[in-house]
Symmetry: D2
């Protein structure tokens, strides 16, 4: 059971509740985020009567979460969360576009694409300095040098930077240079890393694991939030199935599912989610029509090297056209979920 305290609750009101619970022989855990304080009653013998607490001063309500995640649950926080990054908002009324490159290779490449991203009206730039690669022999990213290039993009184009960190050391570096820390699909259940970024001041873009259920996805967010960082943005990026016409199967029904169960914003990455250039725009439009809060799109710096279908990145002009089209979809949407 969760005892949700009123906004502006005092320390002594909290302590009064805690004492009551302890007296009944139960353990507690305090959950605090910017909008509210809750007391979670964990282990103990027998059951406990919610009525005991409902009239205590400072108590807003008692909740018996149906779900194992509490902070991420729409039961706990009914209003949709909005994540603030500078003056920008993810999860609000505006559609968020994050454009960029897969890996930071050179300053030129990155500036080239950043110009296109800026031109589209997007406010976020994404680029990888540390790359999780299936093979140890593949390019592992430029490391801190890559982060410095991204920081230049930030100051030059006034774009917010999203970049991945794969371990504690990288988190510290990313915190120095970027605005949003991305946790990649392969690390969605790297619990040590989740706990570390849960202590970060930066918002976290959490990608769904390749074979993660919705519950596991929200519990990964819960790991971050339980450490005090409530600024989590979920990202659907395709799951692994038998279906082989695309590299992954983009599971868009997770958008209404997340919106029902959680208050967290959710964006979609149709570039990794399909792995095919010609599918990115249709799937981006589908994502927005399904209610996604934003998109993460890869742009390719040198079209001439990416002629095959195999290439997932869009050419700059395709990206500009995509942004135009998804905005049209976003504008005609009336709120569809209740």
């Amino acid at each position: 059971m969760l005892i949700v305290m009123k906004p502006g609750v005092t320390q002594s009101e909290i302590e009064h509740v805690l004492e009551k619970i302890k007296h009944l022989g139960f353990c507690t855990k305090i959950l605090i985020n910017s909008s509210q304080t809750s007391i979670d009653i964990t282990d103990g013998k027998g059951s406990i009567d919610a009525a005991i607490f409902e009239n205590l001063t400072g108590v807003a309500e008692t909740v018996r979460p149906q779900n194992p995640y509490k902070l991420a649950s729409s039961q706990t926080l009914r209003k949709k969360s909005v994540v603030l990054i500078g003056n920008e908002r993810i999860g609000g009324d505006e559609l968020t576009i994050i454009g960029g490159v897969c890996a930071v290779e050179t300053r030129e490449q990155v500036f080239n694409i950043a110009e296109t991203v800026k031109k589209s009206g997007a406010k976020f730039f994404r680029g990888g300095a540390f790359k999780p690669r299936t093979s140890p022999y593949a390019f592992q990213g430029l490391g801190e040098e890559g982060l410095r290039i991204l920081a230049e993009v930030r100051s030059h184009f006034n774009l917010h930077i999203v970049t991945e960190a794969m371990d504690n050391e990288q988190v510290e570096l990313v915190e120095k240079y970027a605005d949003i820390i991305q946790i990649g699909t392969r690390n969605m259940q790297n619990f040590s890393l989740l706990k570390r970024v849960g202590k970060s001041k930066l918002p976290i873009l959490l990608k769904r694991g390749m074979s993660a259920t919705l519950e596991e996805f929200l519990l990964a967010a819960e790991y971050i939030m339980a450490e005090g960082n409530e600024n989590v943005i979920l990202c659907e990026r395709g799951i692994r199935t038998f279906s082989n016409h695309a590299r992954n199967t983009l599971d868009l029904s997770i958008i209404p599912a997340v919106q029902k169960l959680s208050h967290l914003p959710i964006i979609v990455d149709p570039s990794h989610g399909t792995g095919k250039n010609f599918m990115v725009t249709p799937m981006a439009m589908a994502s927005v029509a399904a209610g996604a809060d934003g998109l993460l799109i890869e742009v390719h710096p040198s079209p001439e090297n990416a002629l095959s279908d195999g290439a997932q990145a869009l050419y700059p002009e395709q990206f500009l056209e995509l942004v135009k089209q998804v905005k049209v979809i976003h504008e005609v949407l009336s709120p569809v979920t209740v």
Copy 2:
């Protein structure tokens, strides 16, 4: 290799080509549909030179299909196919809405929903008289009695009827009463049934198998087309994966994939594709935004019996609202795939 003949080719021109091939020691198969005649060169010793045929009168071009399906391939027929049903068109510029009930239970129930479907502006009504049920003890449908009720709906509301057939005997009955024969997901590779409906005069709505690849899906269509029935409408209805927040995983990236590889129209069934009432509208909108030619939507006759999320059918007012919203999406779409 496929030798595509010109429109208006004469019988003697065809025979001339056939003789030439026979003379070279190869076998042939003639593929005819309303828009064209092709000669498929099948077995034989060694390779064959396309140039031999390209200047013969009556020959439009020679094609070496990269894909195992020929008639369904966009290489063979470059223009998108439009399936005509009376004055209606599936696969053209207009969005097709097929509304209806899962199983025909009573005349009242069906007329009740048909009224809603008609009111929405949809031109197609769907209802099951023969039901493929996982359990032998579950309701198997009203049979011919159900078909008669559907035929009444047709004449009373001027709606075209879509209904499933599961074996040869049922196909004959459905041909008597309905306008489009549905082949269900469990029968996508029932090759005897595919051959039988390939000889039907009615268009076929072919649902994707629960674990079918795109290639298997198009080859199932090819089975029907190879028998002479070119009026195949594909339908994505969700695939089976580990993901458990919806009953199936709606695989919308198959829409651009089909549009690249085939000329056949494709519609989406978000009702079976999600199994959850609250996901139907967002996924319907996503389907249209991704470029689907139409939607197959279930409506529930008695909302009071369908209060849980478990119910996939929409209430009448939800259905009317859905149709309004997807039309708005459809209108703002500019052609997105090239």
Copy 3:
């Protein structure tokens, strides 16, 4: 609720029970197989007290099946079923080996392999006369001519014949020539076909659908049994997953699962289940060690045409070696499941 009648129950005892149920306002369905008659209480208002029936003459017991399948359930029939084919038994103490070719191509090919199968000590020969092929342009089998060749194998080698039927017409032909009717993986939920073979006098080898759950698998068996044919042999043949080192993922844990929930025998097809020659023997051994009642193995007539890993069929000498090895495993097994 299921009312299981005693062996040797009389018609009037049955009618007495039926009347009682009708009087209480409930509907019934009578389920008869060779070993017992049961009365299934289906729809009706309210609940019904089992005690009413337990003391009626002719009633053995009342069962509230936890599972939607009744005849296939180990609750209904606690002893393992043994399917008799001539003097042979499938599901008993002996390990059943079914060897053979994928498709019947020529009399020579089939006789060649039948000799090897006979030599191994196996009692069953398998060959396809009607082939379910993904492409309409692929070889569809020799049809009745193939069945005649199989019948010759039967009389010449004294081997029992297992062969697939894909529709009602084929079932009639197979009944004329063979001993066991195979229902292929693509037809596991072809309910019309299941009902038809449920009326056959021949035992049915039912292959698991590529994406069928255990419950769906047992309900497909139930379709056959509900029509009166209790001689169903289940066959695991690999499921469709993301895993790509084998053509399918052989799901051997279904063996103990079937043995817990059902009395039906289960065999394994490691040839289709892996699609790779070098995996067949290890997976055959694993199947037997896990408790399978038998194996279905493909043998290739002309090794020189099947050199690549891609070929799933074993060479004759590999097959003979496999049979020797699995028998050793089978012999050392003490009953492992309780």
Copy 4:
């Protein structure tokens, strides 16, 4: 291309080869393990002729790996690897049994089970001090206190200890107390962690990721080996599929597949691989029959708390019986793969 050097190659022979490659404009990476030194030719313009190197002194052969993993490949090292732990060998002729508890809870619990494990003749004990838990609110393990208990088991029972580490700090602690470091399924692509344990002196038990392909699995091993730690033991523990009769789908065909492509030993965890007590023994037997080098089995300290099927752990007497039975299977196996 990989240039494999002869055993006993001298430093100057190696340098001579390196210079030659550099002169041709290509980059290199030196791969050293206890049995051999290889030079990997990585990037460079154009192609390179193997013949140039084949006659240089110190060169054994040149290999063009068909697979992206090199050190893990059976092409590079043709003899099966044997991992030594004290006097014990994993991957040799003897079957390895690792028994133990899921999480270390108390000294009593662990000693209780260790006694059973010792009694069975097993040489390895497994217990978790750091637990990767889906929920942040679930028990996360005793940490270093748990490791100390495990170290007591080691000295008291003379059992080798296997335990999981989830980040760099935990690796350092595990190195102090244990004999084999386990990398869990959720960390199979935690590349920072793989690099860290690649520098450890302890052997690594690498569990397959829940949705990892065989290639990804071997490349994860390659990450560890590329850092110099060649003592990697692979572990199949079930993959995630739609199939729901077991918690995971144990994919045993990976055993012959690994044995074909790699020289590394592979063991199986049927406890996590099925999640059901009654499936553990049949699947353990199947694993051994398929050629697994060993088993990882969970034993439950207090049977009375684990009566349901849901519990995956075996009771002590079931474990003792399992060990007896799998040994019988292992003894009758003749080498089945060539």
